[in-house]
Symmetry: C2
Subunit: 423 residues, 2 copies
């Protein structure tokens, strides 16, 4: 049975989730390195980070205002004598006694005796120099207690945390000038095909410009990884073998083109000759069929379709979660939102269809998805207009207008035109 | 009246949308430069890009299969004689006559005489070398017509297009080895406050570690801009003036701290002495109040709150759209999704409240938002756990559990844990 399953995987097609599981079960983070805080954004913590101090270091004011004894300000208005003026960074020398107050700045230590802060907007200075309070003070008001945000020895940030801007701030708060993170994989990208014209080759109207390796380069860059472009291998087995052998020195090799069932496709036998164990060759999806995945002792190989859009969609579904798993991320998949289709989409029964769509937001905050004009798998210009990939299920022949379906948000869809903030 | 409005802006507070409009109406892209395609990701096209060729360059096969005359395959099964074998990149030499077919690869030119392609899965080779077709062929089937994706001279990509991975692919398709893009602004970040301890200063339990400049650094980096950290200015007017003068040499200066109404806050008078025209000093929002915006002849200044979370939230609402406008983006604001609150949130009437939340996705694809434990404006650790900012409106005193509200997706929220692909 296992043998049969294996054969079935190799000849028939997995579904997308099965293929993702097949890939991800074979992957783990590659190793650990130190980065300085300036270069930490987007990486993933490979070790817990402990708090090295209490934050705040003592009870401090949360506002610019006056530190008071709440018992003195139970009715308003009331006037108190000002006995000190405490700035952030000061150590208060004077205790606040009954009938007294101290001017205090945001972040400044609350002086002895005081148990409440009244913000400056709710006060006014009287001609005699005393301060009049227009509101009552509750104990603890606008005071941040020592250790409220962080206590010495606490796990401030745990292993597996993605280093977002706020995490960079938190690392600085515990004085972590460097961070221990998972290392990034080395990635190589190779195109395959006699018909391809490289960017630096002279214009030949009969050939197809290589856009695949460039789109894959940028998709990889968007994950913070700088890949190596190995160029274009022509359809000769020796040349292909030389390129593939070089590519297999990397942690991840992406091969675009030359992977379908056509007789001129040499990639598969050459990879197998080079010791790559192939785990599947087809996934029941469109575009993107065929897509293959293999492993060696040191790395992994994805064989992606030659059509640019198919290659990009396959990268999204398989390479992206793999790169994220290798770099230690816990969130592996594109965020999806539910969107209502503005027009019907057709799909081929038995295959998940990834429909390139643009998104518009309705007044209630929900989304409508409109397929971009051409859904041809070679039309990189149409792909360039898409904001998301709408997932039409395997069952049935498509979705009617008005159907709700998940849409994966693509790079470039993080921002939108209008803010949604009421006046 | 205009004078009164101006005064009101300076003393009272704008709402968030008014403040955004006040900023954005003063900004335009800064200029234009050339970048090589390897460095183009995330930038914005400053000129239309024209197609330099027809794509595909001629009628080509969309599949691996056989090129036929559809009139020969009106019933199945039927066998045809194979007369040629056409690879991608070939120029076919033999026309397909009645009763004949040619093996053809994806992307290969359709030979003269043929008007349809039958995919290889729907055929088999017979012992005599002829090919048997199991399905009928319709004219035009699986053929991509010359110029279907792009025609010479068409605007392939228009000015203002963000260079996503697919756009990088499209640029390669028109052989654009460089792109004309809007230049990035220079950004300087300055912290202000006697209580602040720099990352490279010795640990002092009584002081507050500077996390602000680091979070702001990373928020700026996340936009593809490498800012300059000017360090920490202490609360002495001369030192502050020296730092601010240096900061005003940049296109954008971010000053964190020292901007509230407290008497020790020197930033405002010093900026005004240095020739900065301040447009507002308060916005009715929480956290984030106070936040100020000014302009000089060469650049812009944001004065952000000293509390790390407030500073980050203000960056999100004001600095981010400004940086995106300066770099030519048409999408200026964080994408929002509608989410259901899992618990009530309180807010102060008259101020929009930005509630730090985590997101969970329901089975139907909709989202639930849960406030992160502490909503204190100094708690950068809580901010580090947030995936989004839920916007509670100015009216009323908050939102009940179950209310639906827009959530801005923060950096790090682009990905999620589970895929949403049915098997």
């Amino acid at each position: 049975m296992p043998e049969q399953t294996k054969t079935e995987h190799l000849s028939g097609g997995l579904d997308v989730a099965e293929a993702q599981a097949c890939i991800l079960e074979k992957l783990a983070p590659l190793g650990v390195e130190q980065v300085v805080l300036e270069r930490a954004l987007g990486r993933v913590l490979a070790a817990d980070v402990l708090a090295n101090r209490d934050l705040p270091p003592c009870d401090v004011s949360a506002m610019d205002g006056y530190a008071v004894r709440a018992a003195d300000v139970t009715a308003a208005p009331v006037a108190l004598k000002m006995v000190d003026d405490i700035k952030a960074g000061d150590t208060p020398k004077t205790a606040v006694a009954a009938g007294q107050c101290a001017r205090i700045m945001t972040g400044a230590p609350v002086p002895q005796g005081a148990d409440s802060v009244v913000r400056v907007e709710d006060t006014r200075a009287l001609p005699d120099g005393s301060i009049e309070f227009a509101v009552v003070a509750k104990p603890g008001n606008d005071i941040r207690l020592r250790g409220e945000n962080m206590r010495v020895g606490d796990v401030a940030l745990s292993v597996g945390t993605e280093i977002t801007p706020a995490v960079v701030g938190a690392l600085a708060a515990v004085k972590a000038a460097t961070a221990t993170v998972y290392r990034l994989p080395s990635v190589a990208i190779l195109a395959n095909g006699d018909e391809l014209e490289a960017l630096d080759e002279p214009f030949d109207p009969a050939r197809i410009p290589d856009s695949n390796t460039w789109a894959l380069l940028a998709q990889t860059q968007a994950q913070g990884i700088e890949p190596t472009r190995l160029g274009i291998a022509r359809d000769k087995p020796e040349e292909l073998a030389r390129h593939l052998e070089r590519g297999l020195q990397y942690d991840v090799l992406l091969v675009a083109g030359g992977t379908s069932v056509g007789v001129h496709d040499h990639v598969r036998p050459v990879l197998e000759k080079l010791g790559v164990v192939m785990h599947f060759w087809r996934v029941e999806m469109r575009p993107g069929h065929p897509i293959a995945f293999g492993t060696t002792e040191r790395g992994i190989v994805f064989c992606l379709p030659g059509n640019p859009v198919s290659a990009m969609v396959c990268f999204e579904q398989f390479v992206l979660p793999a790169l994220r798993a290798l770099t230690g991320h816990r969130t592996l998949f594109r965020r999806t939102l539910a969107a209502r289709l503005t027009q019907p989409v057709k799909s081929r029964p038995g295959r998940v269809e990834f429909v390139r769509v643009t998104l518009t937001q309705e007044a209630d905050g929900s989304y409508a998805a409109t397929p971009v004009g051409a859904q041809g798998s070679a039309d990189v210009l149409a792909m360039a207009r898409a904001e998301g990939l709408l997932i039409a299920p395997r069952e049935g022949k498509g979705l009617p207008a008005g159907a709700i379906a998940p849409v994966q948000l693509l790079d470039g869809a993080t921002f939108q035109r209008a803010a949604e903030i009421e006046r």
